[in-house]
Point group: C2
Chain length 462, copies 2
């Protein structure tokens, strides 16, 4: 060992530093486990104090670091080069407390989402955040990217579920406010700076998260809708008629629903193919019979006024699993593609129908685009596109990016609803953020990380 | 006119600048209208561009400014001296759009809360933020202080209701992101810096606010509870059994309830005096009969297991008004005090009972303290204390501050749940924020307002 790694070895036990051959066992993305990691070294702090020492040294040496959580991100955030130091939070993976009276859970950054859900459930509580990568994603990464998912409509993004936070700044200083309180207007809410800034302003080490009472009843229904305008009206109706119980409202475009419910998918269609739109809605409540009745009344009403054309309500736990598998198993779409390209754009809800229609039409004109699948958290204005193409040429990628991102500028949309900017979306940031905004971001980055060591070149260029 | 005021007169029409005699018609707080304003001048921009010019000039001249909204704050934020320039947003008071499909309202900073509520209501929507000063408080001030109120439990603080924001920085640069989208993870969420920083990092000019569907049913109940632990269990039960409909859960200590429901108050007691605690709960739902039944079932259940000792459910609109008047008319408490001192502290929910009991006991030992009234948004951990005392001596004020604030440090509480820090709480900030946090706040302030012109000496000292 030499240079900074030798210096780090003075503050870290040797088994917490991987170098040389040992790096080959590591990987930069959970889907790329077969590709070796390129990095100067890979360090695994076990305490906030150790991380603080690591960063103080890196700051002194102007050593760029890349922060690793569960390595599930989709925007190149964990890509490295061989001059960078990887800091992985994997050994800081303790659940420190579940407090059923305060309805909070206190965790270290390396705890996996599914574990938080499980521990909450053990206390008859719910951690409402939920998404596909829950078995791998670590809460530190989840908070630093302000992850969304399937129940944002009711419970909000990650930002709304974080009560207390501890993070280490680039210079090693520890910013800690591990409070269980819901309201705190004592000067600036510093945690907001670490949430969603993708590890560029500090590394999250611990959090106090908000839990809610575990729902007693769950209702799901699949609905067929003839037009996008009717989808918007249905959303308003459902929100109104289901009181505060509506927890999911997912939209799937007709041709995507067909693919999701045809072989090779093992999922049968709960409603016949042929409708332009399908909505999967969910309510979580306290009154199994009453909640079921309310959802049936809503749907009967909507059929009567011809707002929807067909509907089926889940009648059993097996039905719930079946319905939600259709929506969640996006692998069935990807597996039929030669090369795939993903989007998680955000748009004002009423404009989604026409804007997506135009994007879809334009994609149809590209010869090398084979499939365009569209679905998303429409109640949040968040649409996912999965585009299958014949090759991975970067020109093609950029042509597709332009088609999808360009219309967002005029309508006040966002190139990222959930996944963040990372490395891959950086060049498109100015389509949804003004020059003044980007320069304010750069100012913040320079103030908080003057040597630009944290996730350098991710999110922003300086 | 001379100096900077003459310079401002080059960019502002003369009727938008008040000076000299005209200042005597102005005031610094809505409760102090009889006291003349001390200021260099009082300017009223009508557009963001005008405000930008004003700030660019002030920044160049290093002229400190104090920002005025509805002047309803309770922490000295609008106090001035005669060297400061007041910037009032009162002429920027247009509602720009109500979008029923996006469920958003777009407003200028000077719009009064009640007007936003009314315009939402006209579209069959609800702007859920609600508190006593709604007839005077302007949305710019509300956002800059991250106001709370009576329905935070269900709908969140102001922070959660702001989708888009426009603000002007100290140097006059305009940071605008007036988007209607719910999710935006495109790099840093800059609006979070302007929300709750009390005008020290920028002046808010416009906002896009989230609306929700207007509830169809409303249920309220007053409940008598024997112990604080039972209050916590009742909160969990109510949250669980009322599904997503629970929208209010207010706690009133027994002796305060007695004063609130005895002459000179015109409100009669819905439940007999004599219980140590009273809870006022509210649900907002979509199913009048079902929701009423659910609340009755909850309360019957709680009586059966002796979690509560008595309960009464509002049977009419008049009952709702009666019940909520009791809670909201805090004037009846203040009017019986010689001099009053207010608190809005935040504590972990399960600890409130014992901590408040100790504070109460200690206050009893102060001869000059005549009354201590206690109530609050207990579901949010936010307790209000109103303390009546015989005189306004600053030593007494500080003794009382010490008694109330000191215990919060050890338990991870906050000296301000809602009202902010302003001028009056600044010296206690270090009781709930660490040295590292305060120095990070100072760094942010210095980076974004290097000449320290915005609300100088408020919130933080540099």
């Amino acid at each position: 060992m030499e240079g900074i790694v030798a210096r780090l070895a003075e503050v870290l036990p040797s088994e917490q530093i991987l170098q040389g051959e040992a790096l080959k066992q590591q990987y930069y993305h959970i889907w790329r486990m077969h590709e070796s990691l390129h990095a100067l070294a890979y360090v695994m702090p076990t305490t906030t104090a150790e991380l603080s020492s690591i960063l103080a040294i890196c700051n002194e040496w102007e050593q760029p670091v890349v922060v690793y959580g569960g390595r599930t991100n989709l925007v190149g955030s964990t890509e490295t080069d061989s001059s960078e130091l990887v800091i992985s939070l994997e050994k800081m993976n303790a659940v420190l407390e579940v407090d059923a009276s305060s309805r909070t859970i206190t965790v270290q950054a390396g705890v996996i989402l599914e574990e938080i859900q499980r521990q909450a459930d053990n206390q008859d509580l719910l951690f409402p955040l939920n998404f596909g990568a829950k078995g791998s994603a670590q809460i530190g990464g989840i908070i630093s990217t302000n992850a969304g998912g399937l129940r944002v409509l009711r419970f909000g993004m990650t930002r709304q579920l974080v009560l207390g936070l501890e993070a280490v700044k680039a210079d090693g200083s520890i910013i800690s406010s591990m409070k269980k309180i819901i309201k705190d207007n004592s000067a600036y809410d510093l945690k907001q700076l670490f949430i969603g800034s993708e590890g560029t302003l500090g590394i999250i080490t611990k959090a106090v998260l908000k839990l809610v009472e575990k729902p007693i009843s769950r209702c799901s229904a699949f609905v067929a809708v003839e037009s996008y305008d009717n989808v918007v009206t249905l959303l308003k109706q459902a929100d109104k008629m289901l009181g505060g119980t509506l927890s999911g409202f997912e939209l799937i475009w007709g041709h995507t629903y067909n693919t999701m419910t045809s072989a090779p998918s093992l999922n049968k269609p709960p409603l016949p193919h042929g409708s332009p739109f399908y909505v999967l809605l969910e309510s979580l409540g306290s009154d199994p019979a009453g909640d079921q009745l309310r959802i049936e009344r809503l749907l009967a009403n909507c059929i009567e006024v011809e707002l929807i054309t067909d509907a089926v309500v889940a009648a059993s736990a097996a039905d719930h699993t079946w319905f939600w598998n259709i929506r969640e198993d996006v692998h069935v779409l990807v597996s039929q593609m030669i090369v795939d390209q993903h989007f998680d754009i955000s748009l004002p809800v009423p404009l989604i129908g026409s804007v997506i229609q135009n994007i879809w039409k334009e994609l149809q004109t590209i010869e090398d685009v084979r499939e365009t699948h569209i679905f998303g958290h429409v109640a949040d204005g968040n649409i996912h596109l999965m585009i299958g193409k014949t090759h991975n040429d970067s020109n093609l990628t950029e042509v597709i990016n332009e088609i999808v991102y360009r219309p967002l500028q005029a309508i006040g949309g966002s190139i990222s609803a959930e996944h963040g900017i990372g490395l891959h979306k950086k060049k498109y940031l100015s389509l949804c953020r003004s020059e003044a905004e980007i320069s304010m971001m750069q100012l913040l980055k320079k103030s908080l990380d003057p040597k630009n060591i944290l996730n350098r070149n991710k999110v922003l260029d300086l």
